[in-house]
């Protein structure tokens, strides 16, 4: 007798999922795109996600996005070069992006890497190259443990209070490929942090381990059920559990098992851990974890460090903060030329040894392949070769001796990837958008680059405001984490002069820190070409109306939505937006001939397309 699963996705997962997908994937790759039976496309594309492959949107059939998970954002020496070489050889699309060229790598808000335009037929060669260099796409997507995030300078930070990197690495090694945890009701996002800044963003993860002290021992407090997607943002809720680093695996595995057993497989919209925590409450989650999933007595929570968090805390680089770099400025020297950075790791900062790390701004997380390869060379020349990725879509070159800092900082590549970017460049995050993603409603990455460029040229931040985050997400999936930005932008549509145009909802005052809060959505459907003007006016009005040195977040907290909406004042300016048309209805928004029918997809497995405009 067969058992009918509650949804098609669960049915497919019950048939073939996890490791065993690989054999089928390789077989399809060997035989070519056309070998996937027409009536099995949905099933296989859903399964391929477990191996990091997403079928691209309509108009781009037969092309895939490939995600490489880099635990805690650590790219070991040589690995960035491998990523660059893979992107160079296999991620060249049929048309160029006007801002980034024909091939590039995207650094994501979960410290992973995404490549686009990947052909199924190339997957075996790509996997060979990645895996022989210690990289993998396994579980980068799909319903299982995703890439584990954390403080990107874990193990390097001079002021880290818990050595979190071995914990994150152990969780990755334990639960990546573990059949007991490979088929969960939905994705399972984990953050492990040991620093004082709160930069692991644990509050927006399904499971967060955050530094805490108990009875003189350092370890982690456990929080569960955070997440931003689908207009249902939740902050992770404290479970009143303290774990030592040695207990982290057992408790994390217990919670993953609890989610596996009790998460909602009937309805994928309701399947995330945040909804289970909503339904049960943290107390019941703790009781069930204790009774059914761990075999030792759980300790109550220790004393956390949340009152010291500075990352995205809405206060700027506050006096007395426990800067990752706080020795640097005091010592003078080159690091003092790049003050701040405690919140986002940009700039020059001392490590726990005698070396320094240098955080570089990558606009919207996208780097062309030539720049990737150049950065890999520079990391090797001036540092250990290691490069790390941050949750703000930026990169960090670690292990640079003080004697090499000046020469490294003088490299021409750093003109484009600056250690001291303007606040608007530094604060920019954008998701994939309609370039490749079908859930998105608007174009995002190129637009955010243009926004930041215009704001840098035309707008000054009010006095005392040194960080200002603008996150642009194409839809409510919230991949750019818009709800935790000073200015949150979310894709919508509106009509302007009767024509449907791309637009953005505007939210204000979101952020993390000791008391995280989600943005208030105060303006709806502002035509995209009026958004830079709206931000300019908002900042001017904020400067005029703020009281007693209010921070921007305090200013928003202290005013009602109606008042805030009046301060936005959208208007056209000198900013121009080439993506106002319906980018979703193009095969590729930047192609010269962009109609759906003009694209080359699907491309037969035995041929490669020529440039669409050749």
């Amino acid at each position: 007798m067969s058992v009918r699963m509650p949804t098609d996705v669960e049915e497919w997962k019950s048939e073939v999922y996890g490791q065993e997908i690989r054999d089928h994937l390789m077989e399809f790759a060997e035989e070519g795109w056309e070998s996937i039976p027409d009536d099995e496309h949905d099933a296989w594309f859903e399964r391929f996600k477990w191996w990091g492959l997403y079928h691209q949107r309509s108009g781009q059939e037969s092309y895939f996005m490939m995600r490489i998970g880099t635990p805690n954002g650590v790219l070991e020496p040589g690995q960035l070069e491998v990523v660059g070489e893979v992107a160079d050889e296999y991620a060249r699309g049929p048309a160029e992006n006007p801002e980034f060229g024909a091939a590039y790598a995207d650094f994501t808000t979960r410290q992973s890497i995404q490549l686009h335009w990947i052909r199924l037929e190339d997957v075996p060669e790509i996997f060979d190259k990645l895996e022989s260099n210690g990289l993998t796409t396994q579980q980068a997507c799909g319903d299982s443990w995703r890439n584990i995030v954390g403080c990107p300078v874990a193990g390097k930070d001079a002021n880290e209070v818990v050595d979190a990197l071995p914990v994150a690495e152990n969780l990755n090694e334990t639960f990546k490929g573990d059949e007991n945890h490979s088929n969960l009701p939905r994705k399972w996002k984990v953050s492990v942090t040991g620093c004082r800044e709160g930069c692991g963003q644990g509050d927006i993860n399904d499971l967060a381990l955050e530094p805490a002290e108990k009875d003189g021992r350092m370890g982690f407090n456990v929080r569960v059920g955070g997440g931003l997607a689908r207009n249902e943002p939740r902050l992770a809720r404290g479970l009143d559990v303290f774990v030592t680093p040695d207990q982290a695996e057992a408790v994390s595995g217990g919670l993953s098992s609890l989610f596996r057993e009790y998460g909602d497989r009937e309805n994928r919209y309701n399947a995330r851990m945040k909804f289970l925590v909503d339904e049960w409450g943290a107390d019941e989650v703790r009781e069930t974890l204790q009774e059914e999933f761990v075999d030792f007595e759980l300790e109550h929570a220790g004393e956390d460090l949340r009152d010291q968090y500075t990352y995205n805390a809405g206060t700027g680089p506050a006096a007395g903060s426990h800067d990752h770099a706080d020795g640097a400025a005091a010592d003078g020297g080159v690091a003092a030329q790049y003050p701040g950075g405690d919140h986002d790791h940009i700039g020059v900062h001392p490590q726990g040894d005698d070396n320094f790390y240098v955080g570089l701004n990558v606009m919207v997380g996208r780097m062309g392949v030539e720049d990737c390869l150049e950065l890999a060379d520079l990391a090797d020349e001036y540092g250990s070769g290691e490069v790390r990725l941050t949750q703000r879509q930026n990169v960090i070159v670690t292990d640079v001796p003080e004697s090499e800092l000046d020469a490294f900082l003088a490299e021409p590549l750093l003109d484009d990837y600056a250690p001291d970017p303007s606040p608007f460049e530094r604060g920019s995050i954008a998701c994939t958008g309609t370039e490749f993603c079908s859930l998105s409603i608007v174009e995002t990455k190129n637009r955010q680059v243009r926004f930041a460029r215009w704001l840098k040229q035309n707008v000054d931040l009010p006095e005392g405001v040194e960080e200002f985050h603008i996150h642009l997400s194409g839809c409510t999936a919230s991949c750019a984490q818009p709800q935790i930005a000073d200015v949150s932008l979310r894709g919508m549509k509106t009509r302007k002069n009767g024509e449907a145009v791309e637009a953005l909802d505007i939210g204000l005052g979101g952020g993390l820190g000791e008391d995280p809060r989600f943005a208030d959505w105060v303006a709806q459907r502002v035509p995209a070409d009026e958004v830079p003007g709206a931000i300019e006016n908002l900042l001017g009005n904020f400067a005029d109306a703020r009281e007693d040195g209010e921070s921007f977040r305090e200013f928003v907290e202290n005013r009602d939505e109606e008042t805030l909406a009046e301060l936005i004042e959208p208007e056209e300016t000198s900013y121009t937006d080439p993506y106002m048309h319906n980018t979703k209805l193009t095969w590729y928004p930047y192609a010269e001939e962009d109609d759906m029918d003009d694209g080359p997809a699907p491309v037969p497995s035995d041929e490669y397309p020529v440039e669409a405009d050749d």
Binding site: R4, M5, P6, T7, D8, V9, E11, D38, D39, E40, H41, D42, F45, E46, K49, Y54, H55, Q56, R57, S58, G59, Q60, E61, M65, R67, T108, T109, R110, S112, Q114, K187, A229, R230, R268, Y269, C431, T432, T434, F436, C437, S438, L439, S440, I441, V442, C475, T476, A477, C479, G491, M492, K493, T494, R495, A500, Q524, R525, K584, L585, M596
Partner: protein, 131 residues
């Protein structure tokens, strides 16, 4: 075509409607709806599909989104989005394989009484890339 099985699915976080493994309708477009809000005709941004089914030969979806005229946001009633032809099967839902025959997929559906008429865009969809 009789006896051919059709499958209706909403996939990828509600990004698109699949009919027999083809992406037939995606999110992100403006739809003209009646009965969604107080407007005589809502100008509705469809942000996500939640479920699909059939009523007779009419393929339907439920979705969520926002009327850009009055700002009403939320879920819709069943909306017709296309028609199956030559079918003798009454209904299917995500998770079931209805016995259908063929699909006239991207044609604007006929009005369906109080559910209102839809102006269905002819684009398809793909995968969301939530990291």
């Amino acid at each position: 075509m009789r006896g051919v099985t059709a499958a209706l699915r909403v996939l990828d976080d509600g990004a698109w409607l699949s009919v027999s493994d083809s992406r037939v309708v995606g999110v992100g477009e403006l739809w003209r709806l009646r009965g969604f809000c107080e407007c005589e005709q809502a100008d509705f941004v469809l942000e996500g599909f939640t479920e699909t089914g059939v009523d007779g030969r009419t393929v339907e979806v439920r979705a969520y989104g926002t009327c850009i005229v009055c700002n009403e946001a939320g879920p819709t009633d069943w909306l017709p989005v296309g028609r199956l032809v030559d079918t003798d099967t009454p209904r299917a839902r995500d998770g079931e394989r209805g016995v259908f025959h063929a699909l006239a997929n991207s044609a604007p559906a006929a009005g369906a009484g109080s559910r209102g008429a839809t102006d269905v865009p002819a684009n398809g969809a793909g995968s969301s890339e939530n990291p």
